[in-house]
């Protein structure tokens, strides 16, 4: 019957109960949608970086990334890459030649990282072909085709089929150069792809470098759900002397960002739930003070303090239990809708792209976040009910009964 009384008390003052439930619904919605947008930014940023640039895992000569010395290649790189293609949990493997140099058009020159790629395997690992906005993915130009970013094309003032010259040091540290023709222009939110990379076919650049079939970088795309560190451990067990790193080590700033966004959820949760606690305390305290005489009577006739405390607690928890699913459903629908259509932030694309963010945002909330938020809200209601419930059990029945 305590449950029955508590439940009926919830509906005794419908307006007040709806205000509390409304604030819980809005709190949950704000929390989940806010978190969804933060995740959208983060996942978008990370996906862009992993899918189009760094991939999940990279292998190098241990010293290569120190100063990009072209002689520091991976021993038996091609054989190792072929072997990796057969590994479970590896969806794609590509090999690259990497050399820093200059790119020059008739009007301007700029520093670039020249990436000699295997066009078929690169497309499997980084989906580079999907970023083409002008021209084609290494099609239509047979000799020395090159793909550059939109921003770099703008800087050099070149278009598809324009000629550019790449200059860099060869194997023997002699300056060498080659003429290339722009076959495609790519556009991405990644600053590197847009401005700093120049993609050429591996064979073309290898000939100019004079390094034969050597490999500077092996990039791996892992299957969904595969733990990258497991592949890293397996590789280290089989091959020694190479530097193999997952994306968290390749781009530690992204790992930090992921961690930071994870804590942001808790910060956001703390702020919103703290505000909610005050709302709940205020409303439930009003409910208790309004029923002072009734509570006094209950204690006078023999309802012990624990039961009075439980009754107030159940009333508050009932509000949270009714409001939480409503808040969760509204949040789920909001997030699902924007996840399917995306949030168009193209008005701010310049600013966003300068930070490496995509201009279309796809909010995303992990299932466990729904669970965390629900537990958080119920816990908040529990905490919020404590003071009013304590106030109720502390009342003196004689004073309460004679209260007008």
């Amino acid at each position: 019957m305590i449950l029955k009384i508590a439940w009926r008390n919830v509906w005794r003052s419908k307006g007040r109960s709806f205000v509390v439930m409304g604030s819980i619904v809005v709190g949950i919605w704000a929390l989940l949608v806010g978190s969804g947008f933060m995740n959208g930014f983060m996942v978008g940023y990370m996906n862009e970086a992993i899918n189009y640039d760094i991939s999940n895992i990279q292998v190098h000569h241990p010293e290569f990334k120190t100063d990009y010395d072209i002689n520091l290649t991976i021993p038996n790189g091609v054989i190792k890459a072929d072997d990796l293609r057969n590994w479970n949990g590896v969806d794609g493997v590509t090999t690259r030649t990497i050399v820093n140099g200059m790119i020059a058009s008739p009007k301007k020159a700029s520093g670039v990282q020249i990436r000699g790629i295997d066009k078929m395997n690169e497309a499997k690992v980084t989906m580079l072909d999907s970023l083409i906005v002008e021209g084609a993915y290494f099609e239509g130009i047979k000799r020395n085709p090159i793909i550059i970013g939109a921003k770099l094309a703008e800087t050099l003032n070149v278009k598809v089929r324009s000629k550019v010259v790449l200059t860099f040091n060869d194997k023997n540290s002699n300056i060498t150069a080659g003429a290339f023709r722009v076959v495609g222009i790519v556009k991405s939110s990644s600053l590197k792809i847009n401005e700093l990379y120049a993609y050429v076919l591996k064979n073309d650049v290898d000939k100019l470098l004079g390094i034969g079939d050597e490999v500077h970088e092996i990039a791996l795309l892992t299957a969904e759900g595969v733990i990258e560190t497991d592949i890293v451990a397996k590789y280290n067990k089989k091959y020694t002397g190479d530097l193999i790193q997952d994306w968290k080590l390749i781009a530690p700033e992204m790992a930090f960002m992921q961690e930071m966004y994870g804590s942001m959820l808790y910060v956001l949760m703390f702020i919103i739930l703290t505000a909610l606690i005050f709302g709940i305390v205020n409303t439930m305290l009003m409910a208790v003070l309004e029923r002072f005489k009734e509570l006094g009577m209950l204690m006078a006739v023999g309802m012990n303090r624990l039961r009075v405390f439980a009754m107030i607690l159940i009333e508050t928890l009932s509000l949270a239990i009714i409001a939480s699913p409503v808040g969760l459903i509204i949040s789920y629908l909001t997030i699902s809708y924007y996840r399917s259509v995306g949030v168009d932030l193209t008005n701010y694309s310049d600013a966003l792209e300068s930070f490496g963010y995509a201009s279309i945002l796809y909010p995303f909330v992990a299932q466990e976040t729904y669970m965390i938020v629900t537990i958080g809200v119920i816990f908040t209601a529990f905490i919020g009910a404590m003071y009013p419930a304590w106030k109720a059990v502390k009342l003196n029945p004689v004073e309460a009964l004679h209260k007008i």
Binding site: I5, R8, L401
Partner: protein
């Protein structure tokens, strides 16, 4: 006859540290089983204070209150709650029913707190409502009943757990003449038939007329104790 309440040398002083007000000044009373007693006296004479103390709602400043061989004056608040639940029935001036429960549920409530069986609870509650002449209102909420009907529900609730005695603080103060008459008849009948012990505090002459024993208080002292 069994003694149900024995109060010895009861003193109650309010505001002991500021301006002390003596509400009870050495009260000695004994109430026996089956009595129909009215405690009367002018406003401020200590009627309600005495009722609160013998009902275990308040502690005396000094003195003993023995109910069912236990000195309730020495009990802690938590113990008193349990003691009240199992030994004392209360009828309040403002009825004080639980507004969200039906009439039947209100009567059942005390038995529920005592963890009595559901079937027994319902049977006893319905019997009492029938005795009080309001069985047809069993599924109504207090707000749907008249004042007199609500007070009858309160009496049924007080009797439901078969307490040692029932304390009624000005039970007719909010009732019209007819309702007062009906309520007093019902209580007198319960006193006769079930040997229920009633202790009233009242100003109401109609209650005083019905009472079999009248204890008069003045300035916190018993000045007369008459049995009719």
């Amino acid at each position: 006859m069994n003694t149900v309440i024995k109060a010895e040398n009861l003193y109650k002083v309010y505001n002991e540290t500021k301006i002390p007000v003596k509400a009870l000044n050495g009260v000695n009373i004994e109430i026996n089983e089956g009595e129909f007693t009215a405690i009367v006296g002018p406003s401020g004479c200590g009627k309600t204070t005495l009722l609160n103390i013998i009902g275990g709602l308040d502690h005396p400043t000094e003195g003993k209150v023995v109910v069912a061989n236990e000195d309730i004056a020495k009990m802690k608040d938590g113990e008193l709650i349990d003691f009240r639940l199992n030994n004392i029935g209360f009828v309040f001036q403002a009825y004080n029913l639980i507004p969200v429960l039906t009439t039947l549920e209100n009567v059942e409530f005390i038995m529920l707190l005592q963890k009595q069986d559901k079937v027994l609870r319902e049977k006893r509650s319905m019997e009492l409502l029938e005795e009080m002449g309001i069985a047809d209102k069993a599924d109504k909420r207090p707000s749907e009943l008249s004042g007199g009907q609500q007070q009858r529900v309160a009496v049924a609730r007080a009797l439901a757990s078969k307490p040692k005695f029932i304390l009624a603080d000005e039970p007719t103060a909010n009732l019209d003449s007819k309702s007062t008459e009906n309520l007093l008849d019902m209580m007198a009948k319960l006193n006769e038939e079930e040997n229920a012990t009633f202790v009233f505090s009242t100003h109401d002459q109609r209650v005083i007329d019905k009472a079999k024993r009248i204890i008069t208080l003045e300035d916190g002292v018993v000045i007369s104790d008459e049995t009719k």
